[in-house]
């Protein structure tokens, strides 16, 4: 298991760093709320620390994660920053809206820091033979971790272009695959078009399909003869069938291989051939 622990500690207030060492193995999330003690989300339940989080602590985390330049992180308008090491920091506070669109945050009161981990070899027993694979799971069940290793495994045999919009899939320090090209920070729709045009991939991988335009971009790529690997929020096949945003994917029968994650982070493979 690889966890960029040093990078995680560097974005936390100093008083909190020493208290985390005991939870290094099982820590999944750190939730910091102004005026409340920090909540550590562990493999089994939560633990609350004693000291209260101040506005200064929150500012410290945001500033160190963005190198004191939150405006330079394009993702602030989507409510998160990716810290060094690929740890995702969700932001909550007072939003700034301009012309009906969220442009940034005026002040941040709560943070949800998700600890990035890598398990090389996790997808060893997955053999991707089909045309398109979809990894399904609820938030926090390990979709990104599994996708990362599936990408590495496929990249042993064929060229994989990864559109890593959030810079979480392959942050610096995480091993990549032999035949892997990674486009960082680009929105999925544009990213898929770019790698399709310029990198000549056999396979394109994207994390978290959340919008219908992502689905359209995947359909377009598939029409160009590229294999696809993606993840989607759904707690199983029945949940996937009910979500309207995925309707174009279901109707087109794009995905024929499903990796379905469970709450305990185990997964099973379902192959559906027409």
């Amino acid at each position: 298991m690889i966890c960029p622990w040093k990078e995680l500690l560097s974005v936390l207030p100093q008083w909190l760093r020493g208290q985390l060492a005991a939870y290094a193995e099982e820590l999944q999330e750190i939730r910091l709320r102004c005026g409340q003690p920090p909540e550590l989300v562990l493999g089994k339940g939560s633990r609350w620390l004693s000291k209260t989080v101040t506005q200064e602590d929150i500012s410290f985390c945001v500033n160190t994660a963005s190198r004191y330049s939150p405006w330079s992180a394009a993702t602030v308008s989507q409510g998160y920053i990716t810290a060094p090491g690929g740890h995702r920091i969700g932001l909550c506070g007072e939003a700034v809206i301009k012309d009906g669109e969220l442009t940034g945050m005026r002040t941040v009161h709560s943070l949800c820091i998700r600890v990035a981990r890598d398990f090389p070899g996790l997808a060893r027993r997955v053999h991707f033979r089909g045309q398109a694979m979809l990894i399904l799971g609820a938030p926090g069940w390990g979709k990104t971790t599994l996708l990362r290793d599936v990408c590495r495994s496929v990249a042993e045999e064929e060229t994989v272009a990864v559109v890593d919009q959030r810079q979480e899939l392959f942050p610096p320090g995480f091993p990549t695959g032999k035949r892997m090209d990674i486009l960082y920070g680009c929105p999925k729709k544009q990213g898929i078009e770019i790698v399709l045009r310029t990198m000549g991939p056999n396979c394109i991988a994207v994390d978290e399909i959340t919008a219908s335009e992502d689905c359209q971009a995947l359909l377009h790529a598939f029409g160009c003869g590229v294999r696809l690997i993606a993840t989607a929020h759904a707690a199983g096949m029945s949940d996937f069938r009910q979500r309207s945003v995925y309707a174009p994917l279901r109707e087109s029968r794009l995905f024929d291989t499903f990796l379905i994650l469970d709450r305990d982070k185990s997964f099973h493979l379902e192959e559906i051939y027409p």
């Binding site: 560097s10 100093q14 200064e56 602590d57 500012s59 410290f60 500033n63 160190t64 963005s66 190198r67 004191y68 330049s69 939150p70 405006w71 330079s72 394009a74 602030v76 308008s77 700034v96 301009k98 442009t103 940034g104 945050m105 005026r106 941040v108």
Partner: protein
């Protein structure tokens, strides 16, 4: 008698020198404000173009600057890299305590710069910087407006004060 005249000349000279040094200080302040305006202009051009993170932006800017302001920008970039202080303002305060600038007006503007940096949206960040640039420009214009009169006054005041002292003492 000759001692008295030597003393008188020294008094007039030192008072005149004091007046001249005041005038020089004022010229230096003007130059520093102009330099700060240039720094802010550089930041305003660079930010929307490349979204450069602050430590790099400060280093790029510092490379083109001479004197204490250049040293201050390097110091601020170092403070940011240390990742110990909670926000840019605290880092600016720390950098200012390591660099002597002599001019309260410039110090105040730099603290305001520290306060305005670190916004969450680029347009807000640019607006904050533009407002500060305007303020800096305004202060520079004010300084320049009565520069010649004030500089002459400082010199004459110094010389007259010296002469007055001589008359009183001799």
């Amino acid at each position: 008698m000759s001692y008295k005249w030597i003393g008188a000349i020294l008094i007039v000279g030192s008072c005149g020198g004091f007046g001249i040094s005041l005038a020089v200080q004022r010229k230096r302040e003007e130059a520093m404000l102009a330099q700060l305006c240039g720094i802010l202009d550089n930041m305003l051009w660079e930010l929307p173009f490349q979204l450069t993170p602050l430590p790099e932006l400060l280093r790029h800017t510092a490379e083109k600057q001479k004197g204490n302001l250049g040293a201050l920008l390097w110091g601020l970039a170092e403070q940011l890299d240390r990742q110990v202080l909670p926000d840019v303002l605290s880092c600016m305060e720390a950098a200012l305590s390591d660099t002597i600038l002599h001019f309260p007006r410039v110090n105040q503007l730099l603290l305001q710069l520290g306060k305005s940096l670190g916004r969450f949206d680029l347009s807000g960040q640019l607006k904050g910087l533009s407002a500060l640039r305007e303020q800096c420009g305004q202060q520079l214009t004010e300084l320049k407006a009565d520069r010649d009169t004030k500089l002459r006054s400082y010199r004459i005041l110094g010389l007259c004060a010296g002469a007055a002292l001589v008359i009183l003492l001799v």
